[in-house]
Symmetry: C2
Subunit: 528 residues, 2 copies
């Protein structure tokens, strides 16, 4: 800090002399802004002098590397197992087919314009790297609804199995907590924890925040109903007076365990404003492919990765012509193959990286998309986007964040498990059986399912031939022992992907991992 | 309830025999759903036998009445003061001009595609009447962001005037409250308020909900940072470990009074999922006008409303040809003129209705739209939609809920007051002075304002020639004494509009009021 200057004065000075962008940089360095994992658009300065890079995988990590390295002067090629770009950045639409391990093939029968994203599907506002690529590549975004106060929280063990509105559990819990704390505050039981003057402000704040009445009670009345909604909403004309609703008792909320779902709406990763690309998450992968698609060899199943002090040679099989192996080589290799697959490929890296590759299990996850004749969740239940959570094996139902209030058919994400026994159980089923189960379970929350269901498609990530799981599942111990070894450049090979990041399973992890890898690789190349 | 049947069994039975729509009706009647002020699409059955209705005002209330009454067989005409339909349902775009009382004319200079909504601008998910008309009339909706965790809460009296992220105030307050309540619970101080078994669940719930650590403390660490965000976000590759952030102390939050803004995000009226029409709020008024525009006489300033037992005669002046009065008559009259104006018009209704018309003052409100060279709130501050609140006279800054992450110019709602001294003070200024003030105040929150500002437009509702204020400002006492008298049919005249509803200032109030009025009027007409 310059002597004699306050932060504010300093900022003003910077703002006046250097403009607002400089000021924002200064604000960041003064600790007024969060430091992002994304350091801004990468600058790979210096001439790589014709060096070549072979990228394994045309997911987001691979395509980011290809885009930036080609621009920096490298000769780039990509090998990709699938017949399409994007990897897990993928959308299923009517007409698409997908064959999982075990050989079962599904044909998606959704109507035109409807889709599900079997992999990633939402973008937090602080995933700056991904947002910046969306901007550069012209991917149009729309808000993704995570918290919908009118969606449901459901437990077969609570409220007689009757779904509760998120709103009621969320606001009633906050109200009861506020009332309890106000009571002990008034009784002088906070002692030294809160100063006397603060206690008065605390009471005032709890009343406002907790929707308490003038006696600091959370009770039925217009005050609480202005937050939790009414038994009868206010209307117009005669007989239009609102009727207050009954809060749920604290003991019922506590016993229901439904409060456990509230964190899903408050986490940094799930807070407003979240996004999704208009038209499906694969708009991102497709936008990258528009830039680097010419570099990709599809249907290339890597079977061996060899390096020596001159370069890297990769053996692969054309999956459309089984048996015929081919080879590709380059000075350097960026490998974005998921560790679940890579651990089964012959690769001559040092023992630390090899141990790291073998150390990370992959999360099991199942998604099911269900098409219905009409958007009954909007028409009957006034649920516009957002997620309902349940203790049933389907775990959650997510409503589309697009096409609101327009009527017509719709596709729900009718099941989305993440780890746990349900994932394994559903994975063990045939695809159509998963769909059947999702309809059966979901109809406990939305009885309209039975009349309105048309068709469905399911994705069990542990049966995915190109990932064998959903995402790297790091434990704290594994991170300590293996993470840095995984990310180091080993000879002429460096790994990238969500598994090589602290944001596993998110697209941003893949992108930041890739940017860090190519930054270090480029420096290594320049050193010669 | 049928004897021997549980609710669930009954519902299943209904569902099986009568389908899901019938089941939903049954769920509603069993208390599983909220009773809306909107009773579904209105059915005006029975022949009005050529009866005619004169509607005063082509705002939403007037156009709803026109649409439904014409369809029911009435002869309908509308008189409208403005030269456009919609009333307060209105959008200002580049090229539009507006002359306020006092004669000052503004020309809006926004770039193509940019706008502000000087009046209503957002739609709660439970405003079923409005949503249903949007659906019927083909108005495309998109989500309106009210709560953005990354927007600011600002007070000149707190944190040295430095804006705080909504996220930090919201999550830290919840964390501290949870910690305090957990502490007294552990010390056994809740006594009889919470049963022993519930206390253990309460502790568990507070830990989850309040982001407490294993000792029930709300402290710096990964647990709290997973909610409030990090000092350094997690990244990819090497050196990517997240760094936890420091929570704000409870005493600082309490003293800041910033907690007072949190209710703005939790109220039933402001909860997710909210909507706005794509392209501006006046898409709604325009959609109505597409249906009933042929019935509207524009530029018609009503000066007298007379009724006798045969019909209603209205005298009006063509404001484009001052001095020339004209007359219109019909069997019945639906008057949607704001009470602030109507109270100054000669109208021969009974004393109770006249007293009601005179009893309701109108809220003062000012909005200012500001165009900037770039969307710095997104680019620099990662604020995508939502509202920042401040104790400055501008009260709030609202960021556009559309065009996210695409760059280019943008228009902020740079001021939105609702009552209070600021509204009067700003109203007393010339339009360009309001804009200048909004820029000056706003730059305390966004220093980028000074470099990036281009042009602005302001709306002070108390200077609006067609409303003389923003919306009816009912007190509880006034409602008791006058509300029913206002809504009764007086002879051949019935009033409608947001002022004749329990949802003042909202478009839904105007619509529900109108539906109730025409429903009663129609019954009266059929009785003969």
């Amino acid at each position: 800090m310059l002597a004699g200057f306050s932060r504010r004065q300093l900022l003003t000075l910077i703002g006046m002399t250097a403009g607002s962008a400089a000021m924002y940089q200064a604000m960041t360095s003064l600790g007024l802004a969060v430091e992002s994992g994304y350091k801004g658009r990468i600058k790979l300065e210096g001439d790589p002098k014709g060096a070549s890079v072979l990228i394994l995988g045309a997911g987001l990590a691979g395509m980011v590397a290809a885009l930036e390295l080609r621009q920096a002067g490298y000769k780039v090629q990509i090998l990709e197992y699938n017949s399409r770009p994007g990897g897990r950045n993928w959308t299923l639409r009517g007409g698409d087919t997908y064959t999982e391990l075990g050989g079962a093939t599904q044909k998606c029968e959704f109507d035109e314009g409807l889709y599900i994203n079997p992999g990633p599907w939402r973008i937090p506002y602080h995933h700056n790297g991904l947002l910046d690529y969306c901007k550069r590549l012209g991917v149009t975004l729309e808000p993704f609804q995570q918290l919908n106060h009118n969606a449901f929280l459901h437990s077969t063990e609570a409220f007689g199995g009757k779904p509760q509105r998120v709103r009621d559990i969320k606001i009633d819990f906050q109200g009861h907590v506020s009332e309890l704390l106000a009571k002990v505050t008034q009784k002088g039981k906070l002692e030294g924890d809160v100063g006397k003057e603060d206690q008065e402000m605390l009471l005032e704040a709890l009343r406002s925040w907790g929707a308490l009445d003038k006696n600091y009670a959370y009770v039925k009345g217009l005050t609480s109903s202005e937050f939790r909604g009414f038994a009868k909403d206010p209307g117009g004309g005669l007989g239009a007076e609102p009727v207050p609703s009954d809060p749920i008792a604290l003991t019922d909320i506590l016993k229901s365990q439904l409060w456990g779902n509230l964190a899903n709406f408050a986490l940094y990763e799930f807070q407003t404003t979240m996004f999704q690309p208009v038209g499906g998450i694969d708009m991102i992968g497709k936008a990258f492919a528009k830039e680097v698609g010419d570099l990709i060899t599809f249907n290339a199943k890597v079977t061996k990765i060899e390096q020596n002090d001159k370069g890297v040679m990769v053996t692969y099989e054309d999956v459309s012509k089984p048996g015929a192996t081919q080879q590709a080589s380059a000075d350097w290799c960026i490998c974005t193959i998921p560790l679940s697959i890579l651990s089964q490929i012959d690769i001559n890296v040092g023992a630390p990286m090899k141990a790291a590759i073998d150390a990370v299990p992959y999360v099991s996850s199942v998604k099911v998309g269900l098409q219905f004749k009409r958007r009954f969740w909007e028409e009957d239940d006034l649920i516009f986007g957002g997620v309902s959570y349940t203790n049933l094996p389907i775990t959650q139902i997510s409503y589309p964040s697009t096409g609101f209030n327009a009527g017509g058919k719709g596709v729900l994400l009718g099941c989305y498990t993440w780890g746990g026994p349900s994932s394994y159980e559903l994975t063990s089923m045939a695809p159509e059986e998963r769909v059947r189960k999702a309809v059966e379970y979901g109809s406990q929350i939305h009885p309209q399912y039975k009349d309105e269901f048309e068709n469905g498609v399911s994705m069990a990530w542990h049966r995915s031939p190109f990932t064998l799981g959903c995402a790297g599942d790091w434990t704290e111990e594994a991170r300590k022992e293996h993470y840095d070894n995984l990310c180091q450049i080993d000879g002429r090979i460096v790994l990238a992907g969500e598994h090589a990041s602290y944001i596993p399973a998110w697209m941003e992890g893949a992108i930041l991992s890739s940017l860090d890898a190519i930054d270090r690789l480029h420096k290594r190349v320049l050193k010669g």
